[in-house]
Each structure stands twice: as C-alpha cells, then as structure tokens.
C-alpha cells in the first residue's frame, strides 16, 4: 500500500516538493513518506464533525493523495483510547512520519494544524 501511494504522489504532486523540510528530504531520497493520520472522535458531536470536515479540507489541500486517515469512534471502540493516550476529543494523531504529533480540537485553526503536522516550519523547531 505504502509503495503505491508514494509512487502516485511522486507522479502527480511534484510542485509541493519545496514545502517542508520533511518533504524536501523525502523528495531528495526519491520518495515521499505516507502521512498516517488517525482522528479520534466520540460519537457524532458537533466538534467531531467539524474536526472531520476541517481535516478533510487540509488534507485535500496539502496532502492530497499521500495520506491515510482512520476515523476512530471511541464510543464504539473505547479500548483504543489508551493506545494513543487520548484524553481530549477530538484528537488528531499523526503516527507517521515520526515524530508522533497530536493535534487536539476541532482543527479550525489551519495554520496550527499544518505546524502540528510538520507541514509548516513556523512555530517550534523540530
């Protein structure tokens, strides 16, 4: 799966290669890492719905074709909350590429989401 997604990205999304350090690195190596995302929600709350639609917008704009998103509803699978240390709802977890990042809230602040996903070099280093 990974290989396939990366290949697709290389072919169709080259103009964004100058974006972040991570991206530059990936391009240099000849492949772009897949961004693996999990969105934790608890039922169909307004915040969860808002987060989901915001996330889709961001991904479509910045990560088109190179991300994988799982939406986890903790009402249905509460045992999964422990693994990613979920406290706040909604929480977006970026597992890959490392470092792991957590973004909490309804993701309405796009800039911060991008920083949180290491798609922007503003804010904190690393």
């Amino acid at each position: 799966m990974k290989r396939k997604a990366a290949g697709k990205l290389n072919a169709g999304d080259g103009k964004k290669a100058g974006g972040s350090a991570a991206e530059r690195q990936n391009v240099k190596n000849g492949e772009v890492a897949l961004v693996e995302l999990r969105l934790y929600v608890a039922g169909q709350t307004p915040k969860s719905l808002a987060a989901l639609s915001n996330l889709k917008k961001i991904c479509d704009e910045h990560l088109a074709g190179r991300y994988k998103l799982h939406v986890i509803d903790l009402v249905k699978t509460p045992q999964l909350a422990r693994g990613d240390q979920i406290l706040a709802i909604p929480t977006l977890v970026k597992n890959l590429p490392v470092p792991i990042r957590k973004i909490i809230g309804d993701l309405s602040d796009f800039e911060r989401v991008l920083v949180g996903l290491d798609l922007r070099q503003t804010g904190r280093p690393n």
């Binding site: 909350a81 240390q85 406290l87 929480t91 792991i100 990042r101 909490i104 809230g105 911060r112 989401v113």
Partner: protein, 586 residues
C-alpha cells in the same frame, strides 16, 4: 445530627438516611472517620509533594479490591502503571495479581503538552471514555485518580478543564463510584487548582513536616460532609505494611481494670508494693538520673515476666539489643533465653530516626502484631524532643492505647537538673502514670548511692521507705537505708553505721559476758568458802563426837572405878581396895 448519635462503628445500616461509608482498610483511618470515606462519592486527598497521597489512594484501592471485594480502577496521570506497581510492591501490594484476576484496572494517562497542538474547541470526552471502559471492564466500585490536576499542565483552556472536572465528578457520583482524587497542595489553597471546590464531600489533608530535622506525617480531615469525624491532626506512618493512622483514643476513660499483679522482678521492690508488684494494665514510670538503674529495673521486669510466661516488648532507645543483653548479664539477668523462646521481643531504635509520632506508631503496630502483656520503653525521655504539649498528648495516646488493651506499660525516664526538681521534671505525664518510682543519687561522705522510693502507686498501700539500690551479680536488692537516730544514711555511711553498731553490740556482749564470768567467779568463791566451812564443820563434828564418846567412856570408867573402890573398901583385901580408891579419887 441524628446520624451522629445513631452511628455505630461499623453500623452503616443503623440509620437508613445515614451517609454510607466505604471502608478504606487503612489502619486507624476508618476509626477516625467512623467508617471510612463516603461511599459512592469523591474524596480529595491533598498535600505537598511526598506526603503520601498516592500511598493513601493505592491502599484504599488495593484493600478495597483484596479485602472488601470492591474492584477498582486506578487512573494515574503521573506515573506509569509499571512504576506504580513497583512502588507499591514494596508495601506488599500485588497490583499485577489483582489486575490478572480482574479486580483492578490500571490506566496510565499521559499528559504531554509538548506533543500536543491545540486547534480550536475540544473537551475531555476521551478521559470519560477511558474511565468508563475501565470501570465497566472490572465492574469497579472504587476509582482513584492520581493527581488529576496533571491535566492542567497539558491543556491551556482552563475554562474547559474546569467545566470538564465538574462534569467528571458529577459523572463519578452518578455512577456511585467511591473515588479518591489526589491533588497537590497549592500556595494558600488546599489544592493548586482549587479542586476542593468541586468535591464538597470529603477533603483529607496530608502533611509532611520537618521539625528540628525530624519529619512527621500528619493527617487532618478538613471536611466530611454529613458526618462527624475526628478533627485533630493525626500522625500517620507509611512503612512496609502500608499506611497507618494513629487515632487519638484519649477521649474516653473506659478501660477495664484488673486486680492481677505483675511482679516487678525485684523482690524487695515487690515488698514495697504490698509484696505483690504492679497491677496489670497499669503504667509504671521509673524516673531517675543517669546511671541510677532504671534500665536494670526494666530488665528485671522483663526477665521475671518472661519466666512467668508473659510476652514482653522491649523498646530501647539508647542501647542496642546486644548491648542491653550484655549489660544485664552483669546483674545476673539472662534475657537471651527469652528471646529464643519468643517471649521477649527486642526493638532498638534511634530516637532521632523518626519523630515522636512515628515511634509511637511503630510501638502501636508492634503491639498489634505481637500482642504483648508488657511493654517496656527505655527511656521515653528520649522521645521528648518536640514541645512539651505535643509530647504529653502523644504519650497520653500511647498510655491510653496500652491501657485499653490491658497491657502493662513500663517506662523509664531520664531526669536532669537539680535534685529538688526531680519530682517536677516529669510532672507533665505524671498524672497519667499509675505507679511512679523514683531512683536518685544521694551524695554523701564522698560517694554516690542510688536511693529508690515509690512516689505513688495507685490502688495499693505502697511503702513510704527510701531504700538503697544495691546491684550485684545476684541481681538487684533494695536494702533499707540506715534510718536510726534521726539520720538517713545510705551506702558506706549505712555500712559504717552498721559496723559501728555491730562493734558496740559486741562490746556490750563482751561486757555482759565479763559480768557473767565475775558472777560465776564470786559464786564459785562463795561456794568454795561454803565447802571449806563445811569441811571445818565436819572436822569439828568428828572431834565433837570423839569427845562425847570419851566423856561417855570416862564416865563409865569412873563409875566402874567408883564401884571398884566401893568393893575394895568393903571387901576382903582392904588395903588393895583403899589404894585403888585413892587413885580413883585423885
């Protein structure tokens, strides 16, 4: 207020409207709260770092699961499950075992602000989901949130956090979960983030303070809605057996009494106490200056009691066990054999090792464990480091505790200062003491001697004598001091006085013997005289009898002669008869 009166110690069912309580299983805590923490409600345990909040919470949870069949959920925000398992393993709690048999669920909630980016609105539903999942998976009745306030460091939206915490407590209450929440003490407030305003049922404050380099832990129940509770500060201890609170039981004076006597181990001391010794279950204080033989009296009591088959707990604050054994051998007391038999339990602690409360708590725990008949504390004066009032209240608790268990307490106390003060030095606790024996040095004639007297001994006609303590390899003897001729003399004064008396007596004896001999001599002389006179008399009598017979003889001769004369004068041979007659006439 009716609930107060109807509440029994374990009687949750006495009054239907009464607040239900959940036993924590923590030694002493259930006593001071009359049953434990409020059942189905949250309790806050707050205090500074290292005060024992987590330990309290863990013991509440573990004992609930293990002893009261109330499964629990532990949600930690600071330590991982592994860490906490290790930490409490030292207290003998087997968290893994409880987890394995589904009596306990651990959930470590990691709050890591560095990994988080906040973008827009959120709530803590995740926490609720996890808690609910944990509670449902074990059927938990008890919940511990160990430092819930850690979430304040992870999220910037405190308004949201407060709303969520309020909701959390409501949620816990609705599910009737008995919850203990730990919270860090804040500057000027009980908890740093003011959690106490959300939990109005029960607030417990733990304090770990250091006074004069000695740490003591104390607990206070700040608030317990709907029930009465002890309002004092109670010292508590965390040791290898867990948490224990020392309840103050000094309010009631209802302990049973006994007429049984405990011999002191010193025959002469028993003599001073009606010949029988101390009453069982009373408290004996032996105070005196350094080296006056207090410990030896304690050892005598221990020895004798063990011989009588009583169990003795000996707490030494000055000497190690081995040292006491060795020293007591010099007065002919072998304590080792009792230790081997298990009758004597020896505990040697440094007085500076802990605060007074800690020592007393340890004594409490040991007493509960060993169940001795006699507790010897040598000396209690070493515990008197804090302020006098504190010490007195602590000792009162100890004495009361021993009395309620019918344990005879034997305390020694080192007194300082001038001799005239000796009876005042311990006056603070003297009123608690049933038998008070004073040993002191009397300096006289260039030597110091130990004098002992019974200052008081409740309920018996004790001796008013001052006696001298004489220690030898045979043990302790209390010898009446010389008290003749209006002076009291101990030691060599007594000895020389006695020697003087002995020599005087001897002189008197000799004189009387001499007089006896003189009388004998005189009698003998008189008897000799009598014998001599008797001999004279006998001689005279012989003489006299001879004379008498001669006279008688002579008379008859004369009569014969006369008759012959007559015959001559009137017979045939006249001449012859005349001559004879003339001779006879001459």
């Amino acid at each position: 207020m009716t609930t107060l009166r109807t509440r029994g110690k374990n009687g949750n069912e006495i009054h239907p409207l009464k607040l239900e309580k959940a036993k924590t299983g923590i030694a002493g805590f259930d006593d001071i709260t009359f049953g434990g923490v409020p059942k189905g409600r949250p309790t806050i345990v707050c205090g500074g770092p290292g005060c024992g909040k987590t330990m309290f919470a863990m013991e509440f949870l573990v004992r609930g699961a293990a002893e009261f069949n109330e499964p629990g959920v532990l949600m930690t925000f600071e330590e991982t499950g592994e860490e906490i398992t290790k930490n409490v393993a030292s207290l003998g709690f087997d968290l893994d075992g409880l987890v394995a048999c589904k009596k306990l669920t651990l959930d470590y909630v990691k709050v890591e602000p560095a990994e988080m980016e906040e973008t827009g609105e959120y709530d803590l539903e995740g926490l609720f989901v996890r808690l609910q999942y944990a509670v449902e998976s074990t059927g938990a009745k008890r919940v511990v949130l160990d430092t819930l306030e850690a979430i304040f460091s992870g999220f910037s939206n405190t308004g949201m956090l407060r709303a969520e915490i309020r909701r959390l407590f409501r949620w816990l209450k609705d599910r009737k979960l008995t919850t203990v929440v730990t919270a860090e003490r804040g500057g000027g407030t009980l908890t740093r983030y003011g959690l106490e305003e959300y939990v109005s049922d029960c607030v417990i404050f733990l304090d770990h303070r250091v006074a004069e380099q000695v740490s003591t832990r104390r607990m206070r129940i700040i608030k317990y809605r709907g029930t009465s509770h002890g309002a004092d500060e109670y010292p508590f201890l965390i040791d290898e057996k867990g948490f224990s609170v020392l309840p103050s039981s000094g309010m009631k004076l209802t302990h049973a009494v006994s007429n049984e006597r405990i011999p002191s181990g010193v025959r002469d001391l028993d003599d001073m106490l009606e010949g029988k010794g101390f009453f069982k279950g009373t408290t004996v204080l032996v105070s005196g200056t350094a080296g006056s033989g207090k410990s030896s009296l304690g050892a005598c009591l221990a020895d004798r009691s063990c011989v009588d088959g009583r169990k003795v707990l000996y707490v030494a604050f000055e000497e190690s066990a081995a040292q006491v054994m060795r020293n007591m051998r010099s007065i002919g007391i072998n304590l080792e054999r009792h230790i081997k038999k298990g009758l004597l339990q020896f505990q040697a602690w440094r007085p500076t090792q802990n605060g007074l409360e800690m020592h007393l708590l340890r004594i409490h725990k040991l007493v509960e464990q060993i169940k001795p008949d006699i507790v010897i504390v040598d000396p209690i004066s070493n515990l008197m480091m804090g302020n006098v009032h504190e010490v007195n209240s602590m000792l009162m608790r100890l004495i009361d505790f021993l009395k309620t268990r019918q344990i005879t307490g034997f305390f020694t106390s080192l007194t300082h200062g001038a001799q005239k003060d000796i009876e005042q030095t311990d006056v603070g606790i003297s009123s608690l003491i049933d038998s008070w024996i004073l040993v002191r040095h009397v300096e006289l004639n260039g030597e110091r001697n130990r004098c002992i007297y019974v200052l008081k001994s409740r309920g018996m006609a004790h001796s008013n004598q001052v006696r001298e303590v004489v220690m030898s390899s045979e043990g302790i003897r209390l010898i009446p001091v010389y008290a003749g001729e209006g002076v009291v003399l101990p030691g060599s004064g007594r000895l020389s006085q006695e020697a003087r008396e002995r020599s005087e007596a001897m002189q008197r004896e000799q004189a009387s013997q001499e007089r006896g001999r003189a009388r004998e001599r005189k009698r003998k002389a008189v008897e000799a005289q009598i014998a001599a006179l008797r001999a004279d008399l006998a001689a005279d009598e012989v003489e006299w009898s001879l004379q008498t017979s001669e006279e008688v003889h002579g008379e008859s001769r004369r009569e014969q002669d006369a008759a012959a004369m007559v015959r001559l004068r009137s017979g045939e041979s006249r001449n012859n008869r005349q001559n004879v007659s003339a001779r006879g006439d001459a």
